[in-house]
Structure formats: C-alpha cells, structure tokens
Symmetry: C2
Subunit: 347 residues, 2 copies
DNA sequence: CAGCGCGTTGTGAACGGTCACAATTGTGAT
DNA sequence: ATCACAATTGTGACCGTTCACAACGCGCTG
C-alpha cells in the first residue's frame, strides 16, 4: 500500500506537496509550524510525511537560512573526567534544544593547532562556541582570527572579553586552603596546574590569597601538568627538598600521585601529611585514603554553558548567574597538623 | 588596499570568480583541484581567495553532492575514561581525514532514547557511524531503523552483522584469569559488567572459559554496573557471603571499589585477596595497591575505527586486522594464594 | 589549409529548502 | 448580496556549490 515515488532520491518537500495535493510552500509551513495553516491541511501533509518517511534536508535549509544549528566545542584533554563530562552534558543540552554539536580537540597548544581546530569548526558554520581549553593562548588566537560567533568559555573566571561561565575557582581554592589552615597547618605547598591554563592560575591565586590572609609564610608552588604521574614525581621530589605538613593539589589526579608517593615513602596520611585535591572526580572517594577535595559540578557547568550560549545566539541573553560555587568535601586525606619535618609553631 | 565587495555576505565562489576574471566554474575547479587548470589561472584564483578570506560554504556543497563528510558517534557513558579517549581519538582521526564528527549520547538505553539519538545523527546526513555503546539493544534498533550507512562498532566482538572492531575481550579476560590461576588461586570470583553490554558478556565468557579449562570450580559471577561505587558495595557483600581468594573485575573502576571495601574490612591486598581489573586506566598504577589489570589501547581502537569506517564509506574497504590484543599488566594487587576463609587445596 | 583532438574555460541547470509577495478563499458586517 | 479584511494557500526567485555539456583556443596532422 505504499505510494510509489518517481525518483530514487530521498523524498523532498515537493514530493510531499504533490502527494498531499498542496504547494511546496504549504509543506514548508507545516514543517515550521506556521500559525495560519488549516488543521485539516496540516493533518493531510503530516500524514504524507509520515508515509514517505520524509526528513528535511538540513543542508538545503542551512543554505538558505544561514543557520547551521550547530555549536562548536573546543577542548583539550577531553579524555579527562572533568572535560569529558562537561562535553557530554553540552551535547545532551544542545540536542535537547535541537542543536548539533561539533567537537575539535587540541592535541597541542601551538597556534597552528588552535587555528586549525578553530578553522575546522568555522567550516561547519557554527553559531556558537564553547571553549573548554581555557589556555590563555586560545583566546589570543580567537581574537586574532576575528571569530564572529558568540562564545562562552568554561572555567575561565572572567578572563576573556566574552562571557565566561565557571565555578568560582578562586573561592574553591580558598576553601581548600582554609580547611588546611584550620587544621593547624602552617607549611602548605600548592601543586599547581600549568600556568597557561586560566583555571590553574585562578586556583593558585586563591591559594596565595588565603595564605596571605592568614599571614602564613609563602611557599613557592610547584607547577605540574594535571597528571597523576606528575603528582607522583612531584611528591617524591617534595619529600627530598621541602618541609611541609600539607599539600593542596590543583586537581584530584595530581593529588592521587602525591598520595602514592607519600605512601611509598612510608608516610601515613593524614597523620604525617594532609592532601587536598580539586574536582571531586567519582573515583576520589575510593582512593586510599579517600580524598578531601573541592567538588565542582561539571555537568551543570556544561548545561549552563549551552543555556547561556543559545541565549546569546538567539539574541536574548540569559541573565543566569554565571558563577557557580564549588563545595568542600572533607574525607580521610586531611587531618590535624603535627610535626613532621618542619612546621607547627603556632598557638 | 582591500578590494571592496558589494554584498555584506560572506564571499561566494562567484565573488572570487568576478575578481579573478574567470567563471565561477573555474573557481570551483580550483577548489576541487581539478587537473586541467592552467597554473597561472590557479594562482590568480588562489590569490583572490586568500585576499577575500574565502571559505567554501559547506551547506551548498553538501546540498548538491549529498556528501556531508560527517560521521556519527553513538556513545553511552562518554564521561568514562575508555569511551572518552576513544571518542577523542575518533575526532582527531576524522578531522585529519577532513571529516566532521557528531556525537550523540545515550542517557538511557530504552528504545526511544536510542532511536532519538540515531535520528539526531541521521538528520546530520552522516555517512558512517561508530557505535561505542555496545549494548545488544542498540543493534536491534539499528536494524529496525534500517540505517543505511556503514557502521563499525567498538568492542563488540563480532556481534553485529556489520564490521566490529575491537580488542579481543575474551583473550583479555582469559589472560587475567589465567594469571590468577597461576598464582594458585582456586576460588576466583568475577565481578562482571552489565550483561546487555556485549563486551561485558565477552569478558565473562573469557573468564568462564578459562576457569573451565583449568577444571576449577565455577563461582557464580556478580553482575555490576561498571562503577566504583558498585564495586565497593559488591566487595562488602562478597566478604559477607562468599569464600574466595581472588576477584577479577570487569573494569578498573569496579576493581577500585573492591580494593576500598577489602581495605575497609582490614584485609591486606594482595596477601589476603588478589584483585585484577580491566582497561588499565591511567590512574590504576597509582592506586593502593597499584592495580594488576589488562591494558587495552582505546586511542588505537578509535583510530582504527575511523580508518575502517572511512574505507567502507569510500567504497574500498580496508583489510585491517580488526582484533587487537590486550596486554596483561602485573602490579601490586595480585599475589600468591594463601588461605583466607576458604580455598587453597591444590597441589 | 581544413580538420581533429586535447587542454582549458564557460554556460545554465540542478540540489531542497525558505523568503517575499501575490492570489485565493472564507468570514462577518453592512 | 456585497464588500472589506483576515486567514490560508500558491508562485517564483534565490541561497552557493557541483554537474553535464558546450565552446573556445591552439598545435598538429594530412
């Protein structure tokens, strides 16, 4: 009982029109549910569409409307938990809003790689861009290429000219640091992330700010690369060269490496050293000891990014609160300070 | 010194043509580097393109050629390390080949969600599909929707009618199990993944096969959900209800949960219990104790998936070996068997 | 010198939607 | 019944590219 079609191509709007006995424009109107269509006509057209399994051709629509309904995501290290779950959330939210998502990964952060990825996205005629690789340099390139689409950046704490949407990294870092101070630690070392990452720099600022408020001696931070491997090596190095009773790592992975190194050296955590991480990835509660860390909700950030971006795209900006507050989660890796190699002179 | 353009729109092929003093078709030929173009003409056209910052309109091209140069990725749990790094690798490889990637996530695995995601991808006119959510049901829906594009599935060990590309899960599971047997363990429990996951089922088959070859008693596996939280609860439950000296977990996350539970119960690993995982995620080497596990190279799988898929798409299938061999990585979470609560009767 | 063939370039029509505008139909008031 | 006006539908052009085909120029052959 199927209606035969002349062409072998996918059915077009005109095929539907012919079979429904209307003009192609009417079909188009049904498609975009235009208000003034008689209910009976709409039903007839819809029926034919159903029968033909009609699917609008996105390319054609895109050609004339100049809307791709696609947003781009620029990301690095997208295999890590944080970025990965943010991306997943972005995709979900975008799809829900009828948008498509295209992701480009940055293998390296040289300018060529960045502009290559950006070019790839621009070819797609993206209408908006989410930047999850908040290295400073990315924004330079973004500016230089005169990208004309609106963009949001995750976790960049107001660095760019555009809207930035983020968990308040500075507040989070202060919470972590204050927690250690309140436990009586005075010699606290910060294992920071790469300093061309805006969020790494923000966490460092938060750390230094809090240390400063407490009028504690300033220990030079160690600059890491986010990985557990680095944390491990840094931990060994620290034991050889520094005096401290606590470390605040800029992310959970590096904290894990620290735990490993300290344990290998025969130290008891948190009796001998306290460790705080940042992110609260799902594994962290199962580590040994379970990690005290600062939780940020990556999925929520992703969702909001899309919300803000689509608001921007459609011309009526969302007045959403752009800063989310992170939350300190105290577990077994932190405890009261006692003397290890140095520290503890206080009241 | 810039040449003024009449329109405010992005420059088109005809704008370039006019300025270069050629026909639009010639410009098109340059674009697709057609052989018979005089070198001088090509140079002239290229120069104008450069000056105008011309970018071909993908929608227009797509409309007429019916090629989207886009491949789709259907994935679930894309925040986990394995899928996430495979996706990243897919994107890299695709971009290198001049293709675009569109990902759709499965929040739930009901049929509606699956066909919704698939529909989203089909709207994009994808030319090929990579399935990373190898639940059996996905393939049912795939068949029912009569998806007409070629697809590869990751880690599905030859379940589907189409090409499957994977690490040999069965071999990996056998390696892990054999390792435990060789250490003298006789009461080995398998903490399996959800059985609607093809790879979970394959790992279970490998485990059972190896147990069978060694003529050991068969312990009923425990069915989990891949998460560390589940592993933790399962670990506590096992200690209450079962006798065993080793557990083979179907992935590293669940193994982590086990370690946590066993440690909480005051057990020493590996003296009292041995634990093996699967995947070798980067963190696993830093856990306590460092996890013995089966390594599979997710990036490589992703790369190959694209290779195979693009071969299929372009009509000349790649004759690549589709099975990769995983590798056993022995670390601190496994050791020789001794009596715990049961077991150890052997020679 | 006509004619052939090849390399190179141009012409006009698609592709499948939307847009602007015109045309038709229906409705209520006069 | 008539008219104004709104609701509904139709017509043709256009978006930017590729495709099929035609045409041009030029050297070479006979």
């Amino acid at each position: 009982m199927k209606t035969q079609l002349p062409k072998d191509r996918a059915p077009s709007i005109r095929d539907v029109a012919r079979l429904a006995g209307v003009s192609h424009q009417t079909v188009s109107r049904v498609l975009n549910n235009h208000p003034s269509i008689r209910e009976t006509t709409r039903a007839r057209v819809t029926a034919v569409m159903e029968e033909l399994q009609y699917r609008p051709n996105r390319a054609a629509r895109m050609l004339v409307t100049r809307h791709s309904r696609t947003i781009g995501v620029l990301s690095s290290t997208s295999a890590q938990y944080g970025p990965a779950s943010a991306i997943a959330a972005i995709e979900d939210a975008a799809r829900e809003a009828g948008y498509y998502v295209n992701t480009a990964n940055l293998s390296t952060v040289d300018q060529e790689s960045i502009s290559g990825a950006l070019g790839h996205l621009m070819d797609q005629a993206i209408e908006g861009l989410v930047v999850i690789a908040p290295q400073v340099r990315v924004f330079d390139v973004l500016a230089r290429m005169s990208i004309d689409v609106p963009y949001v950046s995750l976790q960049s704490t107001g660095h760019a000219g555009q809207r930035a949407l983020s968990v308040d990294q500075i507040a989070g870092a202060r919470m972590a640091t204050r927690h250690l101070i309140e436990l009586g630690h005075r010699e606290i070392i910060h294992l920071a992330g790469p300093q061309d990452w805006i969020e790494a720099e923000a966490r460092m600022r938060g750390f230094l700010g809090e240390i400063d408020s407490a009028e504690l001696p300033t220990n030079p931070p160690v600059l890491g690369d986010w990985t557990a491997n680095f944390g491990f090596r840094a931990g060994r190095e620290l034991l050889r060269t520094r005096e401290f009773s606590a470390v605040f790592a800029a992310n959970d992975e590096m904290a894990l490496g620290l735990l490993h190194a300290f344990r290998d050296a025969g130290l008891d955590i948190p009796r001998d050293v306290s460790v705080v991480g940042f992110d609260d990835i799902p594994d962290a509660q199962h580590w040994w000891p379970p990690l005290t860390t600062v939780r940020q909700d990556f999925r929520e950030i992703g969702r909001r990014a899309v919300e803000v971006l689509l608001g921007e795209v459609s011309g009526n900006p969302v007045a959403a609160r752009l800063q989310l507050l992170p939350e300190l989660v105290v577990r077994g890796s932190t405890g009261r300070a006692r003397s290890l190699a140095g520290s503890v002179t206080q009241a």
